[in-house]
Symmetry: C2
Subunit: 240 residues, 2 copies
């Protein structure tokens, strides 16, 4: 019987390996989910694949899980980064969740000339990414980076990673993913106010950057993120 | 100067045509947005394209807009329907919003064997679709239908409309959009509990239905809706 609960843990996983359950997880596992000794839980840590573990001790203040068998190998997402300008809280959370489900390796919030937010709660977004990975069956959790300034990021860009950028000024044009080469990539979603002229100058005409158009309507940033990752995954990623 | 406020209205639009402003819209236009006589508003009604209108009267209890010039022709989305099983409120709202932005002609909430919700607030979802159309520059608002039972819908299915269905039992397989013929289509997103055996029997092996896989991870229904519409639009719709 496969476990219904899937948890990301920090500890090493392997045959017979025990994993202590901390107080807050104990509340969830033994209180909310009512798991008793002998119940199954699926665990992953981003390194050792997915393991089925058995509850070997269950208490209010903690407990113990014991790895029984590996149920999936480690499967890394393709080497795709998502760069996006944070927007309202709910939509930012949504972008992180969707990026993990669709399959990216790294999520980089960027501050653009027309981005309102000066800071992000990196820890909260990382916790969100963990939850999404637990939910979608991933065996690895993408890193959520701290907020980076887009201009500096572009000035130091590694040309070996191809940048696919979605510029709403291009709505209605027919630029597709066909021009994007295989290999490490990043999808950059512009802020809802669009890119500034200075940002456009840094992006256009670069060998390592390709604009992509996403249909004739104006997409919100969260929609554009899901659409662009979907297209990259289908053309060059692990959806092929 | 192009208007920043875009409104869906029921009335006919044309050169010199006047459009009365009801009390609740007056509050938004003249109170919240502080538009005065002479200010511009963009209007569309799903039939006459987009018109720039001028505020010709502005009061607390109402006002009047006068059409000045057409700013965009009527542009219908492709003949694509989205069928989906309603989930939690926020995610259902999200699916409607995204479907409008990505470009569908009709949205049909369906009740499946494993759908929890027995009813929907059709009026609320329709209002959501209007808001999304106002936001994304569409000149037409997709109809949100009432809740339909999936089994009956499939039993009476018009074979001229090709059904693309996303079955999470197929996660990891490579079925793409290549097998989907051009022409009227519908994307069907299964409920998060998956399709029942009876539903699978109604879907598989039909000439008018093609399964599509959306990568190796398990997508939530809202993610699957955006991804599947994106792929159809790129292959067969108005993103080509």
């Amino acid at each position: 019987m496969s476990a219904k609960v899937r948890l990301y843990v920090e500890q090493a996983l392997g045959q017979g390996q025990t994993v202590p359950v901390a107080r807050d997880q104990a509340h969830y596992l033994f209180g909310v989910m009512r798991l008793a000794v002998g119940a199954r839980v699926a665990l992953f840590n981003g390194r050792d694949g997915e393991w089925q573990a058995e509850v070997s001790e269950a208490g209010k203040r903690g407990g113990m899980l014991t790895c029984v068998e590996q149920s999936a190998p480690l499967r890394m997402p393709p080497d795709l980064w998502l760069l996006f300008a944070p927007i309202k809280k709910a939509r930012t959370d949504f972008i992180v969740e969707k990026a993990v489900e669709l399959g990216v390796a790294r999520i980089v919030p960027v501050q653009t000339d027309f981005t309102n937010s000066e800071r992000i709660r990196q820890d909260r977004l990382q916790a969100h990414a963990i939850e999404a990975a637990e939910q979608c069956g991933a065996t690895m959790v993408p890193e959520v980076a701290d907020l980076h300034r887009l201009d500096r990021l572009l000035d130091g860009w590694d040309a070996a990673r191809h940048l696919v950028f979605c510029d709403e000024a291009q709505a209605g044009e027919r630029a597709g993913m066909d021009a994007v080469p295989p290999g490490p990539a990043a999808v950059l979603i512009g802020p809802e106010g669009g890119f500034s002229e200075a940002e456009r100058a840094r992006l256009h005409g670069r060998d390592w950057a390709t604009p992509v158009a996403l249909g004739p309507r104006i997409l919100r940033a969260d929609t554009a993120a899901v659409a662009a990752i979907t297209l990259w995954q289908t053309h060059l990623g692990d959806w092929r």
